[in-house]
Amino acid sequence: SAVISQKPSRDICQRGTSLTIQCQVDSQVTMMFWYRQQPGQSLTLIATANQGSEATYESGFVIDKFPISRPNLTFSTLTVSNLSPEDSSIYLCSAVTGIDAKNIQYFGAGTRLSVL
């Protein structure tokens, strides 16, 4: 398995500001993902974080709003820009270690964001 550390665990931000979330994995991973989980909702994939290149975004998510970096195999950041109350949500990082053939995704504990 993999241990995924995500920080901050929660934050309260003002409208118009930005929040950067960090995700650190304790072992080398093949893929890293960022999800959003709104209250009472399922997980929605924001993007796949690609090492050394631009992230691959899902429909409805754009780089200007959710810039992502992945400078190495075990670390990624997600920035939520120009915050509005609609961005209040839980943001989750996940990783696939590739240790076995199952491509299991492991998740961090999430970052709970509230926008005032």
């Binding site: 995924i4 399922s42 199952k102 299991i104 998740f107 504990a109 999430g110």
Partner: protein, 113 residues
Amino acid sequence: QKEVEQDPGPLSVPEGAIVSLNCTYSNSAFQYFMWYRQYSRKGPELLMYTYSSGNKEDGRFTAQVDKSSKYISLFIRDSQPSDSATYLCAMSLSSGSARQLTFGSGTQLTVLP
């Protein structure tokens, strides 16, 4: 129509009951099926993993996949208060994007002592 449908509950059962959680899906290309458990204020943790159709048992948990009906289930025997959590079904395609998961909306389960 969502690709994966899951009854959100909430579901409340007495300790010791058998719990049945279910998901239906529309994409016949899904090949990998998972159940994640998510405790309050925690990230999802993998509970069960199944490839294609069939049953898989792990302790008190049994996962069933019926690809002909596009229906998956998770059974919990002798449920415990510690099983109280949200259970998310997830599935992925057979190749290429196999690592991308499509989640159900989650079922909130409470096991009463």
